[in-house]
């Protein structure tokens, strides 16, 4: 090959974009309002559907009084289980790529109410305002039944979920004898750590605009999703449509964070209404309804850790009990990290679920790990104090050189460098270890740290590349950009591979008419789609070289693909870079109008299988606490991340900055609180479900630790969208302890808990 991206040439070349801080190529569209999100495709004559949500948590609908609503001029229809058409009958038709074990929820299917805010009807009208009004006055009779929504009351009802959703592995089998080792160890710590449900609340609420194209049942479905093909598969199966009839488009997604990994009910509703009415329909959810779409589950975690007199971990036990719905088993990996992050011979991990009358949880940024790392890392801090070891030294002392869960070496692991570089930047050595030892005026100052790791994985992906005679390259793959920078990094990879200027390259995504990409999640998009783009562009380059060699007096005649480089708009011989052909001339000389290649990438499992592949981070936090008033301010954060090759330090840094903000939110303010008498989240809006505002965010330093890895994928990337969140909440809680001497083990660390 002309240049492997895993080992960049030493000479800096103009079209070497990978690794260079690059502004978002979709930036101009986003800052001017030109970028169109799902509810912004203003197809003419569209109807508006407003969803009616159940006020009841459990029971059934006994009657829907549609007549007065339908009598309003301009109201088109009221859809409910009473008049919804017969759709696919089997559960498997409703199972999407992110489906869980169990029986998926089917909107408007039956009178049964399974959770509060369950969608029970869709009111369609000619204007949004009328649909909203009609939805309000639609009278529905319910028969309510007793419900149980409090996980605390289900402590004895836990069950092992077995295999859950795609990618979920039950905790590894126990190793050693954790109980015995615990009892024999001199330093022991046990405690329970909890948090209530949290909602990802992307800024854009879920919405779908269905454009009725009139040709048979042909639809353009503009949907807010993290996976266009996933939505298409779901819609085609449920409604019996062909792929041709259900094109799903998702060009811009106003935040995902996991909520868009499954088709949400608004897309079902909008498609149903469009098909029934043979008309374009838009359905947007309200912010309040965003609390009905799934959540990070309320989880109770019990940690038992023990260390010897030297601070070596002797025993790790981590048991988690999490909520799930009555109809599905939501599983996430909460506990396995505790057998992975540290060297320990005696480990026992348990993960159980208990059912409550709520909607199924859904993946929320760093699902499972954000939950587990909070508990583990707080517990490690507590044990470090008991063992009399500095929390950072304690972690270094117990550094895992191998993945003991899988008994595999790491493909790469620069966590030690994260610790050292992060600590140096933060000034950890200035920390007086004693709690309550540092004051600044009336404020107590605390330093805390924590760590985390996240899977580095790659999924199958496809891409298409087309070079036209004007020298423009268009590369496409039905991936998504939920703010992660996908548009930009794919443009960088394509431009560098073909040696074209960034401005000559367009990356297209979010459309089922394009080659398929995996769900935008799991931090695997850069690895998966990036490798597919790289491979596809390489194949295009080979074709291009073939054409170049056919040119009259071609200076490239007879040379192999490995002997040339694609740089600065030229194909050049490696042995003499003055021997070159201008790429734009190649197509023109060949008489071809375009050159097109469709290809892709699948993970090299044979290469990957012997290794454990993870990204890591170490986060250091300074808090200032007003002890009298219980207020906590996170004044400084250093987050050092080792996540393989960084394709674009500018957008990668932003991913980590955002993760820190998420961690601060999780630590200090986020919780969805149910009134269990009603079975309903009561703070279901942005005024009372607090996420950080700018005034909460102070200095955040991101350290991107260099890490080479040629196992994970040809690009050497591990993904950076989630790892930065890990440990942040724990580091904040640990810093609060260091400041005040008070341990708060149930998030968030709100004012009332520090009084």
């Amino acid at each position: 090959m002309s240049q492997t991206i895993a080992r960049p040439p030493d000479i800096h070349l103009g079209t070497d974009y990978i690794g260079r801080p690059t502004s978002r190529v979709d930036g101009p569209a986003k800052v001017t309002g030109a970028a169109k999100y799902a509810a912004e495709f203003n197809v003419p004559g569209r109807y508006y559907g407003v969803v009616v949500s159940s006020p009841v948590t459990k029971g059934k609908i006994t009657k829907i009084h549609s007549a007065p609503v339908l009598a309003l001029p301009g109201v088109v229809q009221v859809f409910s289980h009473e008049n919804a058409p017969a759709l696919a009958s089997l559960d498997k038709s409703y199972k999407d790529d992110g489906a869980l074990g169990g029986s998926p929820f089917r909107p408007l299917h039956a009178p049964r109410i399974l959770f509060s805010q369950q969608p029970v009807a869709l009111v369609v009208a000619e204007t949004f305002e009328l649909a909203r009004y009609a939805a309000f006055i639609l009278k529905i009779d319910y028969e309510a039944e007793p419900h149980a929504t409090d996980l605390e009351t289900q402590r004895d009802a836990g069950f092992e979920p077995g295999k859950g959703k795609f990618g979920f592995q039950p905790p590894p089998a126990p190793r050693g004898n954790a109980k015995q080792a615990y009892e024999q160890a001199p330093h022991r710590h046990e405690a329970e750590y909890t948090h209530l449900a949290q909602h990802s609340n992307p800024m854009e609420t879920f919405a779908t605009t269905v454009e009725w194209l009139g040709d048979g049942n042909k639809l353009n479905i503009y949907d807010k999703t993290q996976g266009a093909h996933n939505v298409q598969r779901y819609i085609t199966k449920v409604f019996g449509l062909s792929k041709d009839e259900a094109r799903v488009v998702s060009k811009y997604t106003g935040g995902g964070f996991g909520g868009g990994l499954r088709p949400q009910y608004q897309v079902f509703m909008a498609v149903l209404a469009a098909l029934e009415l043979k008309h374009s329909v838009r359905v947007s959810l309200t912010r309040q309804q965003m609390f009905s779409l799934g959540h990070r589950p309320h989880t109770l975690q019990y940690l038992r850790l023990a260390a010897d007199d030297h601070g070596a971990l002797q025993s790790v036990r981590h048991a988690a009990l999490a909520e799930t719905s009555q109809f599905e088993n939501f599983t996430e990996d909460v506990v396995s990290w505790s057998g992975l992050l540290y060297q320990c011979e005696n480990v026992k991990l348990d993960y159980r679920l208990a059912r409550i009358d709520a909607n199924s949880p859904i993946d929320m940024r760093a699902p499972g790990a954000a939950t587990g790392s909070f508990a583990l890392e707080c517990a490690m801090d507590e044990l470090a104090y008991k063992a009399g070891v500095d929390p950072l030294a304690f972690r270094l002392l117990n550094y895992a050189e191998r993945d003991q869960n899988e008994n595999k070496p790491f493909s790469s692991k620069k966590l030690r460098e994260c610790y050292h570089q992060g600590a140096a930047k933060f000034g950890w050595e200035n920390r007086n270890p004693a709690p309550r030892s540092t004051r600044e005026g009336p404020l107590l100052v605390g330093y805390g740290m924590a760590t985390g790791c996240w899977h580095a994985s790659q999924q199958k992906a496809a891409a298409k590349a087309r070079l036209t005679a004007d020298g423009r390259l268009t590369v496409s793959s039905a991936s998504n950009d939920i703010g992660t920078g996908t548009y930009t990094i794919m443009t960088q990879i394509a431009a560098q591979t073909l040696g074209l200027p960034l401005e000559a390259v367009t990356f297209v995504l979010g459309d089922t008419s394009l080659p398929e990409a995996p769900l935008q999640g799991g931090s695997w998009t850069a690895a998966s789609v990036g490798t597919a783009v790289k491979n596809t562009c390489d194949e295009l380059a080979k074709k291009l070289l073939g054409l170049a060699q056919k040119m009259d007096d071609s200076p490239l005649a007879g040379v192999g693909f490995e002997d040339v480089q694609f740089v600065d708009g030229q194909i050049r011989r490696n042995d003499d870079i003055t021997q070159s052909v201008v790429i734009r001339d190649v197509l023109q000389a060949s008489g071809e109008e375009k050159l097109e290649v469709e290809s892709g990438a699948t993970p090299d499992t044979a290469k990957q299988l012997p290794y454990s592949m993870h990204s890591h981070n170490a986060v250091f936090v300074e808090v200032k606490v007003d002890e009298d008033l219980g207020t906590v301010h996170v004044t400084r954060v250093v987050n050092a991340v080792a996540a393989g090759r960084i394709l674009n330090p500018k957008t990668a840094r932003s991913q980590v900055l955002g993760s820190v903000v998420w961690g601060i939110g999780m630590a200090l303010m986020e919780e969805s609180v149910m009134d269990h008498r009603i079975g309903r989240y009561m703070n279901h809006n942005f005024a009372e479900y607090h996420i950080p505002v700018m005034a909460d965010i102070h200095d955040i330093d991101v350290v991107l630790v260099e890490e080479e890895d040629d196992i994970v994928n040809p690009l050497g990337v591990k993904g950076i969208g989630e790892v930065g969140l890990l440990g942040v909440a724990a580091a904040v809680a640990n810093a609060v302890y260091h400041a005040t001497g008070k341990r708060v083990r149930d998030l968030p660390v709100s004012i009332d808990k520090l009084l």
Partner: protein, 174 residues
């Protein structure tokens, strides 16, 4: 055990609907006439009737700032404002600040400093920042933090938004 859930009575609900009337609004310097009823908010008027979808709906209740526009130079939440109440006002949306070809300094600074990720809160942030500049009350980073706190960003781009706003603020004061 089961019980009936009683829906709240809605009073004299199914009254005659107030018809749409022509309403003239001045948006981004242009007179636009639209047919709306009084219950149409300025936000919905912009997005659904005038196809100005740059202004975003994040909560529809004044709790997130995504719908921020400038009215007579002052930033407001367009979701809590009725369109009919803005006859005679000068309304400016993100589309009126700059274009992809001719970016406003704030828009350029947001790109330069990667002050957004998903982009959904961004037009509101930029309009809010323009309002902040117009107000002339913020000088320090802490003041900008406080006075930009009416705009939520779930991607957590706050540090970069701060840098972008400060850059334009300092350039303006230089």
């Amino acid at each position: 055990m089961s019980s009936h859930f009683t829906q709240q009575p809605v009073g004299p609900a199914v009254a005659a609907l107030v018809p749409a009337q022509p309403v003239a609004l001045r948006v981004n310097g242009q007179e636009r006439t639209l047919r709306i009823a009084p219950w149409t908010t300025l936000l919905d008027a912009l997005r659904e009737y005038l196809d100005l979808t740059g202004t975003k709906k994040g909560c529809d209740h004044g709790q997130c700032g995504a719908c921020t526009v400038l009215v007579n130079g002052k930033r407001i939440n367009s979701c809590l404002s009725l369109a009919v109440a803005h006859v005679g006002d000068d309304i400016q949306t993100v589309e009126g600040l700059g274009t992809e070809e001719q970016l406003h300094p704030l828009q350029q600074a947001f790109i330069d400093h990667d002050a957004f990720q998903c982009g959904y809160c961004t037009p509101g942030q930029i309009c809010s920042a323009q309002g902040l500049l117009n107000e002339g009350r913020a000088r320090t980073a802490d003041e900008v933090r406080e006075l930009m706190s009416g705009n939520l960003c779930r991607c957590g781009a706050y540090s970069n938004i701060l840098t972008a706003v400060l850059e334009v603020l300092h350039a303006q004061n230089a």
